[in-house]
Amino acid sequence: MDKEKQHTIFSQPVFRHVGERGLLVEFSAEIDLETNQKIHAFCRLLEDDLPEGIVEIIPSYRSLVLVYEPLVVDMPKLQEKLVILYGDVESAIDLNAEIVEIPVCYGGEFGEDLEYVATHNGLSVDQVISIHSGTLYPVYMIGFTPGFPYLGGLSEKLHTPRLATPRTLVPAGSVGIANNQTGIYPIDSPGGWQLIGRCPYKLFDPLRSNPFLVKAGDQLRFIPVSRQDFFALQTETT
């Protein structure tokens, strides 16, 4: 945890209204791991003692949004409660967040841009794989598409700009890099990330009893696997 950044966390939560049924609760003006851990801890505290009329709790990088029923929720009371929780949140931070292992088959037809990422950063392909899979990535938030994790912690050695022209179809499971971010495409979609590999699991399957493999607040580790293991794992899970 970066001590120097502690002062960026607000001493009191900052509230902003999102229409008549949303409340944005801001923790900091910037992105950092400690702020984000606090946000997830705050969400857990709130869920344990959920005030009536709350429809959604949506954590994000440096804030969260509460969606509420405007005719049920007493706003001044709710804000009072949130301020108290904000004071208690320190002790609720989970320093042992769940680690989710994501197998990745790097390169080949699964990671067409792996060579480019290596060349761009003056590294060998093996070095890219070793750096990318040697990091524990915090899941700051999920969004954009179902199950898409916004990850922190990509090594500066791997930063690579987006493709000049996005692909019209990126297959689900593709692992990519765009600027200072790395991530996984949970569903087939268009996209401009540099693709370095693919995960055989479905990050999101609406018909599975638990539709999502990863939740905000988890930590994620990529495990390199061979093509053979990729197909074996894929068969195993379908």
């Binding site: 902003r16 008549e20 949303g22 944005l24 994000s60 969004g143 179902p146 609406p206 939740k215």
Partner: protein, 346 residues
């Protein structure tokens, strides 16, 4: 469940929707749901259904249905002409059909989205608590996609005798009128502090809806809304809610709707939920003005709207017709002129 009808022609863009999927936005799943909640709720009330029953949201033009089993149907929302075999059927009313009937729902003559309800509600699987279709996520609705020719939809079983709900009408006074100019009430924020003159422009000038308008959002064209010089071009990505008006770099507003979970630009204002029904009925080329309201005003509107809907529902559980209700309604003191105007506008 019994098959109710087969789609002979699907219409421009028809999806199954209920009132939305909640609790999953933290996993990146947007609420979805009928864009015009009032029309979707009303069609269910007409048929004696729970207001959250799944209906068919039809965009710009409707489908041709071949009826497979006797049932009761109703269409509310945009004025799409309906014929049953060769006979004209009224909108905002329920009508019985039998096996072999052909129901044709045409192009919208006013408004943009109409809602087809069936007694019992459309029976598609409940995915994560809702029947709503989210096409980008390929989930919910009928196989997670808009309908195509040949699709067969079933209805859920209904406890109440459906005859009770035949030939019911919602009188004209309660139906919204659809024009090509819309006033949308909006609450400033969450990032109204990113703007100074831009905020004044936003609440005083007229905007036009571009062809980039769908269930994810509506792009507008109008005076360029500039942020304060000291403010950054984008914000750190945060959750977006339906109605949020995002100002991207070019300064042309985008109204975010119900198939969006995250936004990376400052949101100058948020359209109140009841006025999202107006956006649902607005077409590319239509004009929009935003009117500033407070949270308290928005809450009052919500309260009155809820009272109206529960009155409509009560009426259906009894024997009185809507015409009788109408007289009561005008006499009733709980509804003031404001809510009547609201109803006519939405």
């Amino acid at each position: 469940m019994p098959a109710a009808f087969k789609i002979s022609r699907p219409g421009a863009y028809s999806t199954v929707q209920d009132l939305g999927r909640f609790g999953y936005q933290r996993y990146g799943v947007p609420p979805s749901g009928a864009l015009d909640r009032f029309a979707a709720q009303t069609v269910n009330v007409l048929l004696g259904n729970h207001e959250n029953c799944a209906v068919l949201e039809m965009t710009m033009s409707g489908p041709v249905l071949e009826i497979l089993a006797p049932c009761t149907l109703a269409v509310t929302g945009a004025a799409m002409p309906i014929t049953l075999n060769a006979t004209i059927v009224k909108n905002w009313s329920s009508f019985p059909v039998v096996k072999g009937d052909v129901v044709t729902i045409g192009h919208a003559e006013a408004g943009c989205r109409a809602y087809l309800g069936i007694n019992g509600g459309i029976d598609v699987p409940v995915i994560m608590g809702s029947r709503s279709c989210y096409t980008d996520g390929r989930l919910g609705g009928h196989e997670g996609r808009p309908l195509v020719a040949g699709d067969i939809l079933a209805s859920c079983e209904q406890q109440i005798d459906r005859d009770t709900f035949e030939n019911r009408v919602i009188p004209v006074a309660y139906r919204p009128t659809y024009s090509s100019h819309w006033e949308l009430r909006a609450i400033p924020g969450p990032q109204d502090d990113y703007f100074d003159q831009g905020l004044e422009l936003f609440f005083s000038q007229q905007f036009t809806i571009t062809p980039q308008a769908n269930r994810m959002g509506y792009r507008l064209k109008g005076p360029t809304i500039e942020r304060k010089k000291t403010m950054p071009a984008s914000i750190i990505s945060e959750p977006s809610l339906p109605g949020g008006v995002q100002i991207p770099e070019g300064g042309d507003p985008i109204i975010l709707l119900s198939e969006q979970t995250v936004g990376g630009y400052a949101k100058i204002a948020t359209v109140i939920r009841d006025d999202i029904a107006k956006i649902a009925q607005a077409m590319p080329g239509d004009t929009i003005r935003f009117r500033k309201v407070s949270i308290e005003e928005a809450r009052d509107i919500e309260r009155k709207n809820k009272e109206l809907l529960s009155l409509l529902k009560d009426e259906y559980s009894g024997e009185q017709s809507f015409a009788v209700l109408g007289k009561q309604y005008y006499k009733s003191e709980i509804f003031n002129e404001k809510i009547m105007n609201f109803l006519r506008q939405i």
